[in-house]
């Protein structure tokens, strides 16, 4: 993992090799704190990214990062290695982030309706769909990034969690079901609504631009 000297951020490294984790884990479980720090260094970026995207707050994400690795450290003696260390600590972090997100929902109950497509009485689409630019190719426009960030921040907790876990983190529906306690059908329904709402925000951005 390299530190970009000109950047305040830590850049990710090449894909992790699980066998390197295994060696560090064995040593960490034997009490080698430097080995545990090695595991932390290998997985901290991914854990932070998950927490930040789930909670939309760098401060909250930093706390989840600390809580998650502390929990992993304390439970090292119980970790039997039936999953990869990275998957295990990621799951711990997902649980911490979900608890915070849901607690926040309880505390701040105001959530507006989600945007979506408009239809006439015959069920026909009445809006013109903007031309979404080549999503793969272009560098992200700063104002588009801000529009997407704003739309994502407006998603209610139950929509945000499935959108982040599926579309940003790439988990399967079954993995999300296990983490959230929801059914796959409910997850798909919420994901669809979240995508429609985000799509509407992007569409509005391009419509106002043209």
């Amino acid at each position: 993992m390299s530190l970009d000297a000109e950047s305040r951020n830590i850049q990710g490294s090449a894909p992790l090799i699980p066998s390197e984790d295994t060696e560090l884990l064995t040593r960490a479980q034997a009490g080698d704190t430097a080995a545990f720090e090695g595991l932390v260094e290998r997985h901290r970026s991914r854990v932070f990214g998950l927490a930040q995207r789930m909670l939309n707050s760098a401060d909250d994400a930093a706390e989840v990062l600390q809580e998650s690795f502390l929990s992993a450290y304390r439970n090292l003696p119980n970790f039997r290695g039936d999953a990869q260390f990275g998957s295990w600590v990621y799951r711990i972090a997902a649980n911490h982030a979900l608890m915070r997100l849901r607690h926040r929902k309880v505390v701040n109950q105001v959530e507006g309706p989600l945007d979506g497509p408009q239809f006439n009485e015959r069920g026909s689409l009445v809006e013109e769909v903007s031309d979404f630019r080549d999503a793969e190719g272009e560098a992200m426009d700063k104002e588009l990034r801000e529009a997407i960030e704003a739309a994502a921040s407006r998603l209610g907790a139950e929509y945000r969690e499935v959108f982040v876990l599926k579309d940003l983190e790439g988990l399967s529906y079954e993995e999300i079901a296990e983490l959230t306690g929801s059914t796959v059908a409910a997850i798909k329904s919420r994901l669809h609504r979240a995508r429609l709402s985000l799509r509407a925000a992007i569409d509005q951005f391009y419509a106002e631009r043209s």
Partner: protein
């Protein structure tokens, strides 16, 4: 075969893109898409949405957060060792 409306079709997009629509529903949806250019455009925009969001919401770990994590864990590990 009854044709789909735009509303019916858009409701099926997630499962369609996941490859999970049964034969008849898929056929009805594709028939509708073939004859409805607003829905064809809508499908393109719906498909592009996750990719655009991943790009917009990518986050890197700030160095100071990483440094604080190291300090925090070292303090906790030292506490555990002194027990």
């Amino acid at each position: 075969m009854t044709s789909s409306t735009c509303k019916d079709s858009i409701e099926l997009l997630l499962e369609y893109l996941d490859g999970e629509l049964n034969g008849e529903l898929r056929a009805r949806l594709e028939e509708h898409l073939g004859g409805c250019s607003p829905c064809e455009d809508f499908l393109k925009s719906y498909k592009a949405t996750p990719t655009l969001c991943r790009k917009a919401l990518a986050r890197e770990l700030p160095r100071e957060v990483a440094a604080k994590l190291t300090d925090f864990l070292r303090a906790e590990m030292a506490k555990a060792a002194n027990k």
